[in-house]
């Protein structure tokens, strides 16, 4: 049952060189740079996003994910979910308003997979980038690169996927839209939705805690994926695979790496999910088809190349 969590609202991603990272996320993927703070963090957004930003880049000697934030409906929901997390046995801590630029207080917890999540209710809304508030055009001029529309989801890897799935469904009200199950009926992959999207967050089992598999950005069409892959070659950016189709979610995809080794995805299409839909199930033995529907096999480094 839905509990007032709306969407993945932001991620803070570690990069090893900010200028290289901006060439990648801003100039190639086409996110809009909206702000910088006194900690050296750079804030960006996809042009269709109404909130001020969704991607926060921070320089570090180790790439990977610092945290992912989900926006909730309002302060009352935030307080309720904070209590529910504590009652469920989670250790909860808070960042005060303004620690992230233009964002309200954030309630944080660590999942059994070892990832830091946070919930927040307030963030400045600056509107879709480059469009008028009244009588808006369908898209703005002056977009660059892949023209990514929005930050869409992450796939995270770590141990204890079944417990993490329980936490997200029981406490945070996410639905299990698709799952990968092993022959003994254990969930090895949980694709979860708090909206009508096929997934807003995904967890896949691996022995190491807190790993990032990929950060995904939404494009409009299959043709845009083709052009995105062209841009990877033009900019000598390392492509992982694609354009191709996922079995899971049936989305269309291109995977590639940023200049620090974090995997990115641009994707379009795919399934939708209503709260009364039973989960779509994939067998772990058929993971090749589940992940790469055309190739039918997973290239050897796909599940090992993580940050």
């Amino acid at each position: 049952m839905r509990k007032g969590v709306i969407r993945p609202g932001h991620i803070q991603l570690r990069v090893m060189d900010m200028e290289e990272a901006l060439k990648h996320y801003r100039d190639l993927i086409g996110l809009i740079e909206v702000d910088r703070d006194d900690k050296g963090r750079v804030y960006l957004k996809g042009w269709t996003e109404v909130d001020k930003y969704s991607v926060v880049l921070v320089e570090s000697d180790t790439p990977g994910l610092d945290f992912i934030g989900f926006k909730v409906l309002n302060e009352k929901v935030l307080n309720g979910l904070k209590n529910d997390l504590i009652d469920y046995g989670c250790e909860v801590f808070e960042h005060e308003a303004g620690e992230l630029d233009s964002c309200g207080r954030r309630v944080c917890f660590v999942t059994p997979t070892g990832h830091t999540f946070e919930l927040y209710a307030e963030k400045e809304q600056t509107g879709k980038w480059g469009l008028a508030k009244i009588n808006p055009d369908p898209w703005p001029l002056n977009l660059t690169g892949m023209k990514a529309e929005r930050f869409d989801h992450c796939l995270l890897m770590g141990p204890n996927v079944p417990a993490t799935k329980m936490l997200f469904s029981e406490v945070l009200g996410f639905d299990l839209s698709e799952q990968v199950v092993t022959p003994d009926n254990t969930i090895a992959g949980a694709f979860m939705s708090c909206s009508m999207k096929a997934h807003d967050i995904a967890f896949v089992e691996c022995p190491d805690f807190g790993k990032l598999h990929h950060v995904s950005f939404h494009l409009e069409t299959w043709q845009d994926l083709l052009k995105a892959a062209d841009l990877l070659t033009m900019t000598e950016t390392k492509k992982d695979i694609g354009p191709t189709r996922h079995g899971l979610t049936s989305g269309q995809t291109v995977y590639f790496f940023d200049r620090s080794g974090n995997r990115n995805e641009v994707f379009c299409g795919g399934d939708y999910h209503y709260p009364d839909h039973p989960p779509v199930t994939w067998k772990a033995e058929d993971l090749g088809k589940a992940i790469f529907y055309h190739e039918l096999v997973i290239h050897p480094t796909y599940l090992e190349v993580l940050t």
Binding site: M16, D17, D61, T62, P63, G64, K238, F257, D258, R259, S260, G261, N262, R263, P300, T301, E304, V305, L306, T307
Partner: protein, 92 residues
């Protein structure tokens, strides 16, 4: 332009000046080392340089510690040769 000879676990290929060892390996059709992010982040291409001079682009500290770096351990996707190199794979 200088062309350097790279020897990995007894097999060898050419690497033009300014190209990383891992990219030169893939462009010459070789598969001695696993290829991941090609950006110094994932660590699958970890090697030790036994002989030769090189520079490295920035590498994840989670994959190569300061002590390892001092011993000649590096990520092949970040190594820019400055001479012929003799290299051994290190399991990440």
């Amino acid at each position: 332009m200088m062309i350097y000879r790279i020897n990995i676990d007894g097999k060898s290929f050419n690497c033009p000046e300014g190209q990383t060892v891992l990219i030169a390996m893939t462009r010459t059709g070789n598969t001695f080392l696993p290829v991941g992010c090609c950006s110094g982040g994932c660590g699958v291409c970890k090697v030790i340089v036994l002989k030769g001079d090189y520079e490295t682009k920035v590498m994840s500290r989670a994959k190569v510690s300061i002590e390892e770096e001092a011993k000649g351990i590096a990520l092949a996707c970040r190594i820019l040769p400055a001479s012929d190199l003799t290299i051994c794979r290190v399991k990440a």
